[in-house]
């Protein structure tokens, strides 16, 4: 019996094939069961009592949740919602992948928590991986199972964003905004978070970062772990409610922003904003602050899927990059195409992820840019791997870091 809303949603697909034009996985495999209408066809065919055949599991697994099909769907079918629910069904029947299960336990555990685990990880990394020249990532020193010598993992910092924030003084005359850094910024790229807070401060805002904030839940949602997802959401909502006098919640992570905007019970009048949206609101002041300073390096931009397709944000980051680099900002061909990271997809499906990445790297190379920017830590990590795979010279940066550098330089 088809009963739940997402199963009803399946019926809206008319199999027109529009998803074939944009699906990065179909582009590489050319296989119908790997594109949205094929997956939806398979999901629709099974009723609740069927056992899940291996082909079904594989098809549902082969999805980046990049939302490309959803953005292009003439019927507006909520495809990623369907995939996430199908994955939920899969975990109910077959159990959650043990690695993901332990990772999510860490995400939720308040005592032996993710940051503690990652701090130990720092020392393990120091032994087994080496730092990349020019980049912020690491590659292995010795052979390790499942990772080849071009696999870039993020360099775990000794100090997390939270450690830096402990030393920070609150400025009483600044208007508070809530800053949701997200796990990647907190534990992997703390400098990105500091850069964002610096820009906010220069604009007259105090970024409030409650240290009890949890993972946004995106990764658990994508894995079909609805129980963990709900728990994480509830905890974050509690914190938002505690700070409900602050109406604007900003984030510099495309995936967190996408996830937070989907929360159903945000406090009254509370708004989630990507940092580019927030800055665009204050463009007059920012433009005045930057003045005629421009970054003298050629830069380009990759649209994070969860920003462009998940939140419909395309013009604000481009405005920002033009402000930073002026004429030095150039578009790549197909900036909207997924980089192939897709959360943990890049690790679990390396071969196909790398094929998708190769096209992105090619398009980036063709611009001749020295820096490729993107408003998503996941994309930045994947692009770093892309540069390494092709021996490309470009660096990867979040636009906010470029802006912070420019403002710091202007102050000197």
């Amino acid at each position: 019996m088809i009963t739940s809303p997402w199963q009803q949603e399946l019926k809206k697909c008319v199999k027109c094939g529009a998803c074939m034009a944009v699906c990065p996985i179909y582009r590489q495999t050319g296989r119908e069961e790997m594109v949205a209408r094929g997956k939806l066809n398979l999901i629709e065919r099974l009723d609740d009592n069927n056992e899940l055949p291996p082909g079904w599991v594989e098809a549902v697994d082969y999805c980046l949740l990049c939302c490309s099909c959803e953005e292009n769907c003439p019927k507006g079918v909520k495809i990623t919602e369907i995939i996430a629910n199908a994955r939920h069904r899969q975990t109910e029947q077959l159990g959650l992948n043990p690695i993901k299960k332990s990772a999510f336990t860490l995400l939720k555990n308040r005592f032996f928590s993710l940051p503690k685990f990652l701090k130990i990880g720092f020392w393990i990394q120091w032994l087994l991986w080496r730092r990349l020249p020019r980049h912020s990532g690491l590659v292995r020193r010795l052979p390790l199972p499942g990772l080849d010598d071009k696999t870039v993992i993020p360099a775990l910092p000794r100090q997390h964003l939270d450690d830096f924030l402990k030393k920070r003084q609150a400025a009483p005359d600044l208007k508070p905004v809530l800053y949701f850094p997200g796990c990647a910024t907190r534990y992997l790229y703390p400098q990105m978070g500091l850069d964002l807070l610096y820009v906010l401060e220069r604009l007259g805002f105090q970024g409030v970062v409650p240290k009890e904030l949890n993972c946004c839940g995106m990764v658990t949602w994508g894995a079909g772990d609805q129980k963990s997802n709900k728990e994480l959401k509830q905890r974050n909502l509690e914190i938002f409610r505690k700070h409900s006098d602050i109406k604007e919640i900003v984030t510099g992570c495309a995936s967190c922003g996408h996830a937070l905007k989907e929360y159903e019970d945000l406090p009254e009048g509370c708004e989630i904003l990507d940092i580019s949206e927030f800055l665009f609101r204050h463009r007059e002041k920012l433009e005045e602050m930057v003045g005629t300073d421009r970054l003298e390096k050629k830069i380009t931009y990759h649209d994070p899927c969860h920003l462009r397709k998940g939140q419909g944000i395309t013009s604000q980051p481009r405005w920002l990059l033009k402000l930073i680099a002026g004429e030095n900002f150039v578009e790549m061909r197909h900036p909207e195409r997924c980089c192939g990271a897709g959360g943990t997809f890049g690790i679990s499906h390396k071969e196909i992820s790398r094929k998708i990445l190769a096209e992105k790297t090619h398009d980036t190379d063709a611009t001749g840019a020295e820096i490729v920017t993107s408003g998503c830590p996941g994309c930045l990590l994947q692009l770093t791997e892309g540069a390494l795979l092709t021996d490309s010279k470009w660096q990867t940066k979040h636009p906010i870091s470029l802006l912070a550098d420019l403002l710091r330089k202007g102050k000197r």
Binding site: C16, M20, A21, G30, R31, N41, R45, E58, A59
Partner: protein, 468 residues
């Protein structure tokens, strides 16, 4: 699946492997086969086997081996068809040509592209446009449908009024016959009268005669610019006169799309501009070409209709052009809100008959008490007729069915045809003998027999009776 069928399939798979097919090119798994049996008509049948050949030689082997065992072959492109042209039978083999997707040559001197059938139409257009060239046919599905499918269905599009349909661009073909032999027809010559024109015969044959493996396509020089104008009229008749006036005054629009008053009402609230309440028909006109010619033609257009048109908006830039097109693009989802289901036909009539068709369809809508929404390509007489209904209500379903019957009667009475661009497939085959008399159908059958004596190639399509 029964034992013997399984056995036949296993033996056939062995033969394919011996003739050079790799395991990845042969799809046997249930879940994978299940995704190669549908198209945009929402019909579905799981084929016995799916083959993903990558070159002509493999297509030849597959067909030779299948014909020996009397197995049915169903060629398939992107399966975005609207008439069931690629729907298989459960005992048939899907020959998916999506892996044969190389652009073999773009001959800039002769302005001809040579491509494999699996090339996506939009990707070819993008490639040739980088060289300043132009492949005009523009079916709505161009971003994902394949050239092979476009040729097999003789796909059209909004630009047909000026540039014609796919058939007007196919210079030559290479195709594999059911016995595994390959024929070649046409060439790069503009003038070519050596023997029967098999190219024209294969274009639009819906995969029932041969499997196309290579296509020569005529290219044009890309137009310098395009100008979009939206016009509103108080009736379909005045709009039709306006269209005629354009042609008589040597205005050559590349596109003339129309929306009837049901369509207008469905999208009115979503438009970024306001439409006069009296507007009954909206035309969306595009003129392309050199900058000077576009300028003088659109000047003439404005002068011609300054009195008759209730509204005339000319797009001044790309974003205004997009705004005008929203009227047309929002249409499908907007009319979907009118009823749970729709029956969509793509009849075509001689251009001058459009007002009569619309009037008669309005009467029909009243008679059967179901809304009928019309829009489409006014310049070439191709009308998308949508009967809006709830198929779960048996009474409405029956009335809808009767409506289709009458729509075809009206169309044929006015000198029209069952399908302008979707093809007959299996959704309109029951009406085929309404359009053509017995000797005509017998001639078509004789052609089918000559190509495919055992009726193994895409059976069940075009002809009213599946067993010829």
């Amino acid at each position: 699946m029964t034992g013997p069928v399984n056995l036949i399939r296993n033996q056939f798979v062995e033969e394919l492997k011996n003739s050079g097919f790799t395991a990845r090119q042969i799809v046997v798994a249930d879940e994978s086969r299940a995704c190669y049996g549908y198209d945009a008509t929402r019909q579905s049948a799981d084929p016995l086997l799916v083959l993903l050949p990558e070159n002509r030689e493999q297509v030849e082997s597959a067909m030779r081996l299948a014909a020996k065992r009397k197995l049915k072959i169903f060629p398939r492109g992107a399966a975005s068809g609207m008439s069931g042209g690629s729907i298989p039978s459960n005992d048939g083999i899907i020959l998916s040509l999506t892996r044969m997707k190389r652009i073999l040559e773009i001959d800039q001197e002769n302005m001809i592209a040579t491509v494999e059938p699996g090339v996506v139409t939009g990707e070819l257009q993008e490639e040739v446009s980088r060289l300043g060239l132009f492949y005009p046919p523009d079916p709505a599905s161009l971003a994902f449908s394949t050239i092979g499918g476009n040729v097999a269905e003789n796909a059209g599009g909004p630009r047909a009024v000026k540039y014609g349909v796919t058939a007007n661009y196919v210079m030559g073909l290479e195709a594999v016959l059911i016995n595994g032999e390959t024929i070649r027809c046409g060439n790069k010559c503009i003038k070519s009268v050596s023997g029967y024109d098999l190219t024209s015969l294969l274009v639009g044959s819906e995969g029932t005669l041969a499997v196309i493996t290579k296509i020569l396509l005529k290219l044009l020089a890309a137009p310098e610019t395009v100008k979009t104008t939206l016009l509103a009229f108080s009736s379909m008749t005045t709009a039709a006169h306006a269209i005629n006036a354009m042609f008589k005054n040597q205005i050559a629009p590349s596109t003339i799309e129309f929306l009837d008053h049901h369509s207008i009402n469905a999208v009115r609230d979503e438009l970024p501009f306001s439409l006069p309440q009296k507007a009954d028909t909206v035309l969306l006109v595009e003129i392309d070409g050199t900058t000077t010619s576009v300028l003088s033609q659109s000047q003439k257009l404005k002068e011609l209709f300054k009195d008759d048109a209730l509204l005339l908006i000319e797009a001044q830039n790309e974003s205004e052009r997009e705004q005008l097109w929203t009227a047309r693009r929002r249409l499908s989802p907007a009319i979907a809100n009118l009823a749970p289901h729709k029956i969509n036909e793509d009849i075509a009539v001689p251009r001058a008959a459009i007002p009569t068709v619309i009037t008669r369809l309005e009467k029909l809508a009243k008679k059967i008490a179901l809304p009928i929404v019309c829009f489409g390509h006014a310049g070439d007489g191709n009308i998308h007729v949508n009967v809006m209904l709830d198929k779960d209500d048996p009474d409405q379903a029956q009335r809808g069915h009767r409506a289709i019957d009458e729509i075809f009667t009206i169309t044929l009475e006015l000198g029209g045809t069952l399908s302008g661009e979707h093809g007959i497939g299996n959704t309109k085959s029951a009406y085929f003998d309404k359009e053509w008399n017995p000797p005509t159908i017998a001639t078509m059958r004789a052609i089918k027999q000559a190509f495919d004596p055992d009726n193994l190639l895409n059976p069940g399509k075009i002809f009213p009776d599946p067993e010829i």
